[in-house]
Symmetry: C2
């Protein structure tokens, strides 16, 4: 009796979640074509989860090459790696698209410190991409704290001679962490441009993250078109250091902050997009592009940003080949170069597509991390948006509920045109900004199943786009 | 121009995910009551994400107390901790429910090894809960590999004198990892019972996980009602070790496996469920119970299993109080004892509820980890199931799409009755069995936002259940 009760309780535990996924798809409501689609999608998921290669590819890229900022030797190695891997997967043709990229280097590890109440505090800091260096002896100045670009602009001349400290934090009530990022990242991107005009000595920015921790997050900044003599060194400090500095400033408003960095921008360097394709079986002149970006920031290993997007994109082609699904249109995989600080690869790709009169009918980008799948974001005309949303019933059994209008991605964005259906893959965003642009964006943060589910999600929507956009999109004259 | 293009591309990146969450709820389609509900749910989420306490409570429980197997000194400390915390949160009354629990101890760290081709291989191993020890000198025997209980039963007498090695692996094509667990856990639970009857010398079981790694996963087993002289020592080995052993057995079928463990079952020990409640403002005689389990396995820190469920349950009451939401029915928080190896706390709670003629109208359990929210599983009558499913439009903006019929949980399961609406909280399951019952189930695996989103998800459905089941459920005569 006791045993039976206990087994009953164990089975209660196991019966959990059975409504979430692996639910029997209500095939009665599906048309005969949709039944075929449902079966093919299941095949793609089964294949990704049992014979996927993306996780080992990612291990190789992140651990044997590591971070790969545009212009770096590692970025060059990643290009060779990508070309070799595309050939190994057996794409019909693989080539490199030359592109000149910015070449910024961090130099020596940055140092930051200040003393308050007799205690010296070391501050985790990192230069922002494209920032200039400090003088060799560093910069020492009083700090003025602001929470937004607007507040800095209003302070105007009060910023002169100061280190301006942007401390606007993520709005944690936003469920989608990308929205919180969007509300803050202007400080990082434009802080130095604004403050330089008012004679600020330097700019430090609270790291772009929801977490309170000790890792500074780098990222790109721009001086815009202000004169060079108004350029100021700019860096990110960790979120915890920002909280502590803010508290210390309340007690000691005139404390002096010191930091030193030796970064610089070298002449543009040659690099490449890596491109490979499976030729379409029916209308090869129509192209569907799937990609992520091969470059990464120089901290960490570029795992979630965007190693996962790279290996998932290639796995789309791998899964098609492995399961003998022949795309009607040409399926092109692109490892874009230089998304992080210039998007030169994206621009080059779009420029060449136009020059060569290629007819892109669709694009899919994975550049939001490798976490558990949530859905897709659609940037397309009304009828194609409606078409893609109608696939929810086929995709929701895999946790893909969020299929709605929205942006796609920075690398495929330049292909935007009314007849092109652009899609962004959207995994769960909660952990993304814990790792984004930091030393902690490493392979161990990626879960194998979550990565593979992403590959399969992407392959599934590409399968559907290939099949239905083919009949749906007018060929461009 | 270049600047504008670049800003445009950055904004494309940021515009990602905007369809997933934080979408404007289509309030036109909501009734006036639903608009109030929508506002209150947003308040609960905002509060959890900005002033939640669950993460620090979990840090305290997992890092200052640690693992807390039933009967252990740590489990006793956790009871004191839970009672104190419930009082600090300001529940109207807090009390302990005495319950006798099994008391199994692991003893010394287990050892396992075998030699093949002249190479000695050490095997990560851990005894299963309720297993007997090996002789002090350990057990050395040939190994026979099977993939299921059925296969073992069919082998019958061939098992005599052997170490039976259950190597049935998770079906990784199942999207919901709990289903894969359900398909395998019988080997762990009943392997020794089956094999002991055929004179097997011992049983080793592949760990219950999707991952291939080096961590053995413990868990409960049962000898059922076989005679004591048929009891055999049983243990789990890591999934990687299982793969390697299986390969080695193909080459060397008669290799001898050695292991030693000194676990034992002591007399039952006194322990407690920790119970606290906010008295209902309108019908306090109706009870809504929210809980998780306070005990954990002895490896790791019991973070995802089930520290997260404990702190989320208490945070439901905390969020109600903090936001001045007064439950109409009595809201009772329970930290159940002994879910892992006996569910004695669950049985005691249900027994006392019956004895005291308490009218439970609903229950919610969190015991599936602290990962990002996905939905709820409903075990209720048809009309209440329909009612809860109708709340999808209010809950889906928070990623809670999966609201369907299914199991609830092992601790509230014994309250099942046609008029009681039982609900299981269902976070994403992909990473859960990476940590389940292992040394890696530690605080650092829990993401603060994911935990808080779970608390808010739970508080939201409790808010709705309290408001609508109140009018919907007949009071038991």
């Amino acid at each position: 009796m006791k045993k039976i009760t206990f087994l009953f309780l164990i089975s209660l535990f196991i019966s959990s979640c059975n409504q979430q996924t692996d639910k029997v798809i209500d095939t009665i409501s599906l048309s005969s074509e949709e039944k075929i689609d449902s079966t093919n999608i299941k095949t793609l998921f089964n294949s990704a989860l049992t014979e996927g290669e993306s996780y080992e590819w990612l291990r190789d890229l992140t651990q044997n090459i590591g971070s790969r900022l545009s212009g770096s030797p590692e970025a060059a190695k990643a290009v060779v790696w990508g070309e070799r891997l595309m050939k190994e997967v057996g794409l019909d043709s693989v080539w490199l698209q030359p592109v000149m990229v910015p070449h910024w280097v961090r130099g020596e590890k940055e140092v930051a410190t200040y003393t308050t109440n007799g205690t010296q505090k070391d501050v985790p800091i990192c230069a922002l991409g494209f920032s200039i260096a400090t003088p060799k002896s560093g910069i020492l100045a009083e700090v003025i704290e602001v929470k937004s670009l607007k507040e800095a602009e209003e302070m105007g001349e009060q910023l002169r001679g100061k280190i301006v400290f942007f401390n606007g934090a993520f709005d944690n009530t936003l469920i989608n962490t990308f929205k919180a990022y969007g509300g803050c990242v202007g400080q990082r991107y434009s802080g130095a441009r604004i403050c330089g005009q008012f004679g600020a000595k330097a700019v430090i920015v609270r790291s772009m993250t929801n977490a309170i921790d000790d890792y500074p997050h780098t990222g790109t900044m721009s001086y815009g078109d202000i004169p060079k003599d108004q350029y100021t060194p700019t860096a990110a400090i960790s979120s915890r250091a920002a909280e502590i500095l803010s508290a210390d400033l309340k007690k000691t408003p005139n404390l002096k902050f010191y930091f030193k960095q030796s970064c610089k921008t070298l002449p543009n360097a040659p690099s490449f997009n890596v491109v490979g394709e499976i030729r379409g079986s029916e209308t090869p002149e129509n192209v569907m592009v799937v990609g992520g970006h091969l470059d990464s920031w120089d901290l960490g290993e570029g795992a979630h940003d965007d190693g996962t997007g790279i290996v998932q994109s290639l796995e789309v082609a791998y899964l098609f080949k492995k399961n003998n699904i022949k795309p009607k249109n040409t399926l092109r995989i692109v490892f874009f170069m230089n998304e992080e600080n210039g998007t030169r690869g994206a621009k080059k790709y779009a420029e060449l597509a136009k020059l060569n009169k290629e007819n892109h009918i669709g694009g899919l980008e994975s550049d939001a991390g490798g976490h558990t799948p949530r859905g897709f974001s659609i940037d397309a005309n009304l009828s194609n948006t409606k078409l893609l949303k109608s696939w929810k019933k086929l995709l929701s059994p895999y946790g893909l509920h969020d299929i709605d209008k929205g942006g796609s991605g920075a690398d495929i964005g330049p292909l935007k045109d009314d007849h092109v259906t652009l899609v962004g893959y959207r995994p769960d965003s909660q952990r993304y900004f814990d790792y984004h642009h930091t030393s902690t964006d490493t392979f161990d943060k990626v879960n194998k199943r979550e990565l593979e589910l992403g590959s399969a999600s992407m392959a599934s929507i590409v399968y559907l786009m290939d099949k239905y956009l083919y009949n749906n999109t007018p060929v461009k004259p």
